[in-house]
């Protein structure tokens, strides 16, 4: 990326040449580097080490480096005996379902608000913005009661994955983000398509979606990560179905029954998808976060 060469520009060329400033900034950056390694990378590396260290060694001397060799069996035991493999799969299913719901809601909703622009669009948009002021956690209580006792339907959705997939789609942030993106698409493309006789369906699938790959990437990556990290809602919905719980919910529950070596191995497995996903999709993550910042600013 060419922007790597550019710096923030705070220090001018001359200033970089000055020895004392160079020394100050240089050592500050060196310190920053050390601290980032220690604080950002340290715990993760320790987790990886702890996951393959025998329990006894972790308990007695957490900072030692394999005094009695590694215990790869922690990982296999975690996967099969403690059944982390199962919970891993549950997490994948939950993440994918939530992702799908979010993508469907955000793309179709933003399409209506940005491209189709019906008369009632502005009203809906303000209703959406209104929900941004309501923190999600505040809705946990009414949502829970709604899941247990839905109005009109005589069936409880507690213990069902639908109770996790569907509410995930209600993210005004996603819709607003996508709407902004669609707003920036050139209108001429739409006009040209309409003249060619394209209906809204063609417009959506053949023009808007293909052009939206970057924003779809950002929303997808954050949607999957958010569901992977989610705790409270799946905890409440799936309390009585331990076999179907995701990793976040299950790991604290099995802690009293699991020796720490295997527990750490389970925690590492739980972090693998986000970690690897982050390393692979780094740019999307970082750009998306910056985007979010720009949106808020």
């Amino acid at each position: 990326m060419s922007s790597d060469e550019r710096t923030g520009g705070l220090l001018s060329h001359n200033e970089w040449a000055r020895r004392d400033l160079k020394w100050l900034f240089g050592s500050a950056q060196a310190l920053l580097f050390v601290l980032l390694i220690l604080i950002g990378l340290g715990p993760v590396v320790w987790l990886a080490k702890g996951a393959i260290t025998p329990t006894i060694d972790t308990l007695r001397n957490p900072l030692a480096l394999f005094p009695h060799g590694a215990a790869w069996s922690n990982l296999t035991e975690a996967w099969s005996q403690v059944n982390v493999g199962r919970y891993f799969w549950n997490t994948v299913v939950l993440a994918l379902g939530s992702w799908l719901c979010q993508i469907v809601v955000a793309t179709t909703g933003a399409f209506v608000l940005s491209v189709l622009r019906p008369a009632w669009g502005k009203f809906i948009y303000w209703l959406l913005l209104g929900t941004l002021f309501v923190p999600a956690i505040v809705l946990v209580v009414p949502l829970y009661i709604e899941i247990v006792h839905p109005p009109l339907i005589n069936h409880s959705f507690a213990e069902s994955y639908w109770a996790i997939w569907l509410p995930a789609g209600a993210s005004a942030f996603n819709v607003v983000l996508m709407k902004r993106f669609f707003d920036n698409l050139p209108r001429e493309l739409f006009e040209a398509a309409k003249i060619d006789g394209a209906g809204p369906v063609r417009l959506f699938f053949s023009i808007v979606l293909p052009l939206s790959k970057p924003i779809l990437g950002v929303v997808s990556v954050f949607a999957i990560l958010a569901e992977w990290k989610n705790f409270l809602w799946p905890f409440l919905v799936l309390t009585n179905s331990p076999d179907r719980q995701p990793l976040s919910v299950r790991l604290p529950a099995i802690q009293p029954q699991t020796q720490i070596g295997v527990l750490l191995a389970s925690m590492l497995i739980a972090s693998l998808v986000p970690l690897i996903g982050f390393l692979v999709f780094q740019r999307t993550f970082l750009r998306g976060t910056g985007l979010g910042g720009a949106l808020k600013g």
């Binding site: 247990v148 409880s156 076999d243």
Partner: protein, 457 residues
């Protein structure tokens, strides 16, 4: 037109067959109305073998009661979501609740009133008074059937006793002795000599109440919503001061103070704790979930003060029925409870069947419990399953011999969980703050508990 004749003949035969079969099924259906009940079966995650044993039980019951169909449902008690489960109609017809919650649920009519049905049982009058009280509301209505009971006990690590120079066959019998032993263990082995639950999920208050009982104290006086909270009685103050001294003066309680039921068991099994208080039935969890080495396990009765009301708090499980169950279904539910939960205490074949389920689920048989009826019956039931007993009985002798010399008392009757909840922060303050003002904190806790009792929470 031969083919059409043949066709008509075939049609007539078919029709006749149809009529015969139909009549037969109608006759069958009309002879008895079948009742279906869902029942709480095994915990989720139980072994396939244990499931099979349970299903065998169900088959036997259905044979004895041809008009009842039983559907097992995986079940585990969960206090936080009980109300939601009840509202969503997801509870089986017959399920179980702990002693602690049973009466509160009964007062709020969230479990069925089964007084009429239960009183007809031949052994109804033989229940231990304190045990059946745990399932009786303040208005005298019976809302469940206690089927398993335990007493609070002192669990100790025989290995750590030996390392500290103490005789593992002579656990402490007074609080002064316990204090001394705790100090000795922590000084000579580095483990926590004595540990106590301190997490504010009501377990801290539960054990603090247990200790107060052994000194002669109680948390409530009176019944129902008119009960008076007595959290700040001198006995509770004494119990907490004892804790304070062990924590700050003796420094014999280690460094972790947020233990709860499973985590204190885990730490004990890992050899970090010399002595601690928990229900007498935790051996199952210790060996199954916490990987305890059975050789180090010791259990003793709680030390009691020489006070009139000093006694051991009891706990246990109660079989209850969904509040919306009526008529034939209620009868079926009671019959199931009698068959599955009670028979094993009174009839040998049932006791053996139950032991086989435990063995199939790789659970220990012979874990110290407390009699539901009386000691004679309890001993007799234990003798039936003698060949299945696989717990280190000899190591459990101090408890098995000593518990029957002690008085068992029920937990506080009104708003039990709220009482424990009010005590939690007091226990935590004692653990966290060297200068905690126990009297003042208990006075506050008493107000909180009194309010909860008055409001029936």
């Amino acid at each position: 037109m031969k083919s059409s004749f043949r066709a008509i003949r075939l049609l007539v035969v078919a029709a006749a067959l149809f009529l015969v079969v139909g009549a037969a099924s109608l006759a069958n259906a009309g002879s008895q109305a079948k009742v279906t009940i869902n029942v709480a079966a095994l915990r989720p995650g139980s072994s396939a073998d244990a499931q099979k044993q349970f299903d065998d039980n169900v088959a036997l019951f259905e044979k004895q009661h041809p008009n009842i169909s039983v559907k097992p449902v995986e079940y585990a008690w969960n206090g936080a979501t009980f109300a939601a489960q009840l509202a969503a109609g997801r509870l089986p017809t017959v399920f179980t609740v702990p002693f602690t919650d049973a009466r509160t649920l009964g007062e709020h009519r969230q479990v069925a009133d089964i007084t009429a049905g239960v009183k007809k049982w031949p052994y109804y009058k033989k229940f231990q008074k304190t045990i059946i009280a745990e399932a009786t509301t303040s208005k005298g209505r019976v809302i469940g059937v206690p089927y398993a009971a335990y007493a609070q006990a002192l669990h100790y690590n025989r290995q750590l006793f030996k390392e500290a120079g103490l005789d593992p066959n002579k656990p402490p019998t007074t609080w002064a002795q316990l204090r001394k032993y705790a100090k000795q263990i922590s000084q000579r082995t580095g483990a926590a000599g004595y540990a106590q639950m301190g997490l504010n999920d009501n377990t801290a208050g539960w054990i603090a109440t247990t200790v107060a009982y052994t000194l002669g104290g109680r948390m409530e006086q009176g019944r129902g919503a008119n009960a008076t909270a007595t959290l700040n009685s001198p006995f509770t103050v004494q119990a907490l001061n004892l804790l304070k001294q062990m924590r700050w003066t003796d420094k014999s309680m280690g460094s972790t103070f947020d233990y709860t039921w499973p985590t204190i068991n885990q730490a004990f099994a890992a050899g970090k704790i010399g002595m601690f208080i928990n229900g007498s039935d935790i051996y199952t969890f210790l060996v199954q979930a916490a990987n305890l080495d059975p050789k180090i396990y010791g259990i003793a009765p709680l030390p009691l003060a020489k006070q009139k009301n000093a006694g051991v708090m009891g706990g246990g499980s109660i079989a209850v029925v969904r509040p919306d169950t009526k008529g034939a279904k209620m009868n079926a539910a009671l019959q199931w409870i009698d068959f599955f939960y009670m028979e094993k205490l009174i009839k040998k074949p049932a006791a053996l069947r139950d032991a086989r389920i435990l063995v199939a689920n790789q659970q220990p048989v012979g874990v110290p419990a407390f009699p539901i009826f009386n000691k004679t019956q309890y001993d007799r039931a234990n003798s039936w399953i003698k060949s299945y007993i696989n717990v280190p009985i000899k190591q459990m002798n101090p408890f098995l011999k000593g518990i029957f010399k002690q008085n068992l008392y029920p937990e506080p009757a009104a708003s039990t969980q709220s009482v424990y909840h009010a005590l939690d922060p007091v226990v935590q303050a004692v653990f966290a703050d060297k200068n905690a003002n126990v009297s003042a904190l208990l006075a506050q806790a008493n107000d909180v508990a009194q309010k909860a009792i008055r409001e029936g929470k």
